[in-house]
């Protein structure tokens, strides 16, 4: 089995030019008003660059970016990505692809990973840009108040069994404690485990994260930070996240076989990428699903500045 931690990751310069060899055939980014997303879009060297405009941000016609901007009409992640993909043209056998995951609404990003795999893509690059800080620190609101439903993400639906005696839900806990609580409540009888992004993106973020997550403590069922039920994975590292997930699941299974496994990535985009990577690599076609509390809207801009740009080379299994 692959060791996720050897996969390539590097930091790209914020101000200086990027090395010559850092270029792609196709570049995709999800449009938001965050300055860092737009800056990266401009900086990238690619044969073609594409914006994906997601409905949850509520952009009006006059707010759209110039250039290739696909406006998603459907809110279903599967249909949206499939239609978007049609507009990209053929990638070709040597075509390289890069995705800026920063602005994505999580379920779309998750589905996209499965989609890429189904298209036979075995390697792609992902960019993630870090902000300097969030707008209101621990009071930052992310998702709109109207959480529509908790359901499986398309492409990440498992084949579950009738025995639910040892179900486990692993939550990648982010700042939005309401989402954590909703996800936890949707799988009331499952044992909940939490992964916190640590080391975090900035020094004070882990602490803020835990403070927020504590508000969902009743739903999760354990004292927040309980060592037996909470784990760390680097907030900026999808590969470490996948690695940690593998370790957790393996440990749980050796204590008592898990009847149904549910994963819910609510934290940073790199961690979301890690959850998706772990799933498509090791948990397809089994009793594992990625579930998500879908919101009907998301706040557009919750961060300031650009402090670091990560580049990950993700390797997917062959279908």
């Amino acid at each position: 089995m692959i060791d996720y931690t050897v996969l390539y990751k590097r930091v790209l310069p914020v101000n200086d030019n990027w090395p010559e060899e850092v270029r792609w055939k196709v570049f995709i980014s999800a449009y938001t008003e965050a300055a860092r997303v737009q800056r990266v879009f401009e900086k990238v060297s690619a044969d073609s660059r594409h914006w994906l405009v997601l409905p949850e941000y509520g952009f009006r016609g006059d707010e759209l970016p110039p250039g290739n901007a696909f406006v998603a009409e459907t809110r279903h992640e599967g249909e949206c990505i499939a239609r978007f993909w049609e507009t990209l043209g053929t990638l070709g056998p040597t075509g390289s692809i890069c995705i800026d995951i920063t602005g994505f609404v999580r379920p779309y990003l998750i589905f996209l990973i499965r989609w890429l795999m189904e298209q036979g893509i075995t390697v792609f690059d992902a960019i993630y840009s870090e902000p300097v800080r969030y707008a209101k620190r621990e009071l930052t609101q992310f998702s709109g108040e109207r959480i529509a439903e908790v359901r499986q993400v398309a492409g990440f639906e498992g084949v579950h069994g009738t025995d639910t005696s040892n179900d486990v839900l692993i939550i990648g806990s982010g700042y939005d404690h309401q989402l954590i609580a909703h996800a936890a409540q949707s799988k009331d009888n499952a044992r909940k485990l939490q992964i916190f992004g640590f080391p975090s993106l900035r020094a004070d973020m882990y602490q803020e994260n835990v403070l927020r997550a504590q508000q969902a403590e009743e739903a999760v069922g354990w004292r927040t930070g309980d060592q037996a039920n909470s784990f760390f994975a680097s907030a900026y590292d999808p590969f470490m996240t996948a690695h940690v997930l593998r370790g957790i699941v393996s440990a749980q299974n050796s204590r008592k076989p898990v009847t149904n496994l549910y994963l819910c990535p609510l934290s940073t985009k790199p961690m979301v990428l890690g959850f998706a990577l772990y799933y498509v690599t090791e948990r397809l076609n089994g009793p594992t699903s990625i579930v998500f509390p879908f919101s009907s809207s998301y706040a557009r801009e919750t961060s300031k500045g650009l402090s670091r740009i990560w580049l990950y080379r993700v390797e997917l299994p062959r279908t």
């Binding site: 108040e145 359901r151 398309a154 009738t162 009331d188 508000q215």
Partner: protein, 690 residues
């Protein structure tokens, strides 16, 4: 000795984590007939909808009915248990179906309805077969009949070979499981391929009703046995999917029945696919409102249960010895461990503190009274008061130096008399006499006693506020009562109280009682959790929550007014016909989320008017400094009701609140001010309230 490292004994609050012993004790206490089993009527063929709020123990009740738990009574001879019970509980959680995936992906709703129905057939039948296999442990009737059963079952399934050739229940079950996985694979891949090719191999009901029927026909040990499908987490199904289950209920075939477990907000529809007819309560199903039933039946039993629960937790976590001290003594110590307030008056120390604090100034309620009397005097709205000397005397009569609560009562009575236009100097003398009599002769009847006993909770609350102190929600009984018969709420309160005590460096359950401060903070945090946690998914939830905020503000304004119209008022009534649709909607949502509790319906014999009564959930009351016990009910006008519960009218809320409170506020009590001429009698009539 308690230390930090032993942890918070109340950290685990969910019923799903209670020990079986805790749960069996909880349920055993129910006084009627056979206890909890009776309540759920497991042998009744009439389907039942079991509705419970969070923490009501609904899941536990359903699981107690399920075969794996019933079987614990006689693990070696499960058939005897089934024979004695007369029913077989097949438990399933709708959440396990992950049924939201049966939608969209480029397929029609009709196609999904078919697939979902088929999936349910496969799911239910696997459960039934697995249970029956276990039932016949140690009995060979099954072994003899097995092949025949399999043949009958496979006759209603179209292929495949695995199903057709199975001759044991196990093999049959596995084959049906394989069919289920086929459906899963197809449904899941549909998201990628936008194509679905599920082959529906059986008709609706053929397995769900067919398998139990076949089993009962071929196994004499099961004859007369009712197969009860315990379908929990109903709220996890979409409306269409619920419609399908409703259809199964409507078209049910012997020997099957259903018990559907849902959250209070969980039922999206009663409609069915049988000509779109609705299932009706009383004809197709009956309803068990678990919360309400628990509240009513358990009043006498819940308190002792809750106290025992605490003791057991403390023993488990090493704060209490397990054997040496008798349970009764431990139970008694519970009261000692929490600083308890007196319910009759302020403790002597607090009285002394107030006396000291205002040694050099007027006590705040007298200062306020004085100011109002002066204002009233100037506007000629204070009967009998025409000079400052009158004010001094009126106030002076009401003093009882070391009994601030009695002073408050006196002031309250004076406001009441004032409202009734009684001459105030005489009124204040009469009050002073009555007060004196009350104190010296310990009179328990009459006006003074009535008002004191009814309003003392509110008057104490006012006193605390006026003296810059926080409200009190103290003592283990208060926590129990706040929780409204739901152990989870109770544990959450204790959890936070304990956490605050530990943070404060206290040593709870040791020699020193848990401080007021820790109790107060703990209660506040538990209340906040309850309010916040009820913020619902979807439309209407937020607005319902905001409505509750307005309601709480109204109750608070009443409680702290000069002359509250109701005592201990956390309930309201209204004419249901006059409420706007949106208001009715939000009230319904608030009830579903247990923010409001319905306390009654009154039908007026003459007018056909139906008045509905609700109260705030006591878990919420501390948020607005309200009492947790309900006494008075506030009759809301239609305008007020809509202003509270309908956002379209919310703008008018503040004005309506002020108008109502004005009637409880001296010196004018809401009457319009006009220059009064000597000898005038007031033109405006009084309200009915007093």
């Amino acid at each position: 000795m308690a230390t930090n490292s032993q942890g918070n004994p109340f950290n685990i609050t969910k019923a799903v984590d209670f020990s079986d012993e805790e749960i069996s004790n909880y349920w055993v206490d129910i006084p009627t007939g056979g206890g909890f089993l009776e309540m759920a009527k497991p042998t009744s063929p009439m389907p039942m909808l079991i509705l419970g709020g969070k923490g009501s123990g609904k899941t536990h009740l359903m699981r107690r009915l399920s075969y794996p738990v019933r079987r614990l009574d006689r693990p070696d001879r499960p058939l005897d248990v089934v024979a004695a019970d007369g029913f077989l509980g097949i438990y399933m959680r709708c959440g396990g179906l992950n049924s939201a995936r049966f939608s969209g992906k480029g397929q029609t709703d009709e196609a999904w309805a078919e697939v979902f129905a088929y999936y349910m057939e496969l799911w239910f039948s696997q459960l039934v077969l697995a249970v029956v296999r276990d039932v016949f442990t140690g009995n060979d009737e099954l072994a003899r009949a097995e092949a025949g059963i399999c043949a009958s079952v496979s006759a209603v399934v179209d292929g495949p070979e695995g199903v057709q050739t199975a001759d044991t229940l196990r093999a049959l079950c596995d084959s049906l499981g394989a069919l289920q996985q086929e459906v899963d694979a197809s449904v899941n891949n549909c998201a990628i391929t936008q194509q679905m090719d599920v082959r529906i191999r059986t008709n609706r009901g053929a397995l769900i009703f067919g398998v139990p029927r076949i089993l009962v026909e071929r196994l004499s040990c099961l004859s007369g046995c009712l197969f009860v499908y315990l379908v929990d987490e109903f709220e996890n199904l979409t409306e269409r999917q619920q419609k399908y289950v409703n259809t199964l209920i409507r078209e049910k075939v012997s020997p099957c029945s259903f018990k559907i477990g849902a959250r209070l907000y969980g039922v999206r529809t009663y409609s069915t696919y049988s000509a779109d007819e609705d299932n009706k309560e009383g004809s197709e199903f009956e309803v068990l409102w678990l919360d309400e039933r628990l509240r009513k039946q358990r009043r006498n039993h819940y308190r002792p249960f809750a106290r025992r629960l605490v003791v057991r937790r403390l023993q488990e976590y090493g704060y209490l010895p397990t054997t040496s001290v008798p349970a009764k003594a431990l139970d008694a110590s519970l009261s000692d461990w929490f600083q308890q307030p007196s319910t009759t008056d302020l403790p002597a120390s607090e009285r002394a503190a107030i006396v000291k604090k205002y040694a050099r100034s007027e006590r705040p309620y007298f200062a306020a009274l004085r100011a109002k009397l002066l204002e009233g005097m100037r506007a000629r709205a204070a009967p009998g008061i025409s000079a400052e000397g009158d004010v001094d005397r009126a106030v002076g009569n009401l003093r009882v130096h070391d009994r601030p609560l009695l002073e408050k009562t006196n002031v309250f009575l004076l406001y009441k008399d004032w409202y009734r236009h009684r001459p105030l100097p005489e009124a204040s003398l009469a009050i002073a006499r009555a007060c004196h009599e009350f104190v010296s002769a310990d009179v328990r009847t009459g006006r003074y006693w009535d008002n004191f006993s009814h309003f003392k909770g509110d008057l104490l609350a006012q006193l605390y506020r006026e003296c810059d102190q926080k409200q009190r929600y103290l003592g283990i009984d208060a926590f129990v009562d706040m929780s409204g018969s739901l152990p989870r709420n109770f544990l959450v309160v204790l959890k936070h109280v304990f956490a605050w005590a530990m943070f404060g460096g206290e040593r709870p359950f040791g020699d020193v009682p848990v401080s007021h401060r820790a109790q107060r903070q703990g209660v506040a945090e538990a209340t906040e959790w309850f309010f916040r946690d009820a913020r619902t998914v979807g439309i209407g939830g937020r607005q319902a929550q905001e409505s509750i905020g307005r309601l709480g503000a109204l109750f608070r304004a009443i409680r702290f007014s000069d002359k509250p119209s109701e005592c201990s008022c956390i309930g309201f009534s209204f004419d249901s016909a006059e409420a706007s649709d949106a208001a009715r909607d939000h009230i319904r949502i608030a009830e579903q989320w247990s923010l409001l509790i319905r306390v009654g319906t009154q039908r007026d014999r003459n007018t056909e008017r139906v008045d509905v009564k609700y109260q705030l959930n006591p878990m919420l009351c501390p948020r607005w400094d309200l009492p947790i016990y309900r006494r008075g009910i506030l009759a809301l006008t239609p305008g007020e009701l809509n202003a509270i519960f309908d956002p379209a009218f919310a703008e008018g809320f503040q004005g309506l609140l002020e108008a109502r409170i004005a009637r409880m506020t001296a010196p004018f009590f809401g009457r319009r001010r006009r220059p009064a001429k000597r000898g005038d009698t007031p033109l405006f009539s009084d309200d009915a309230h007093d």
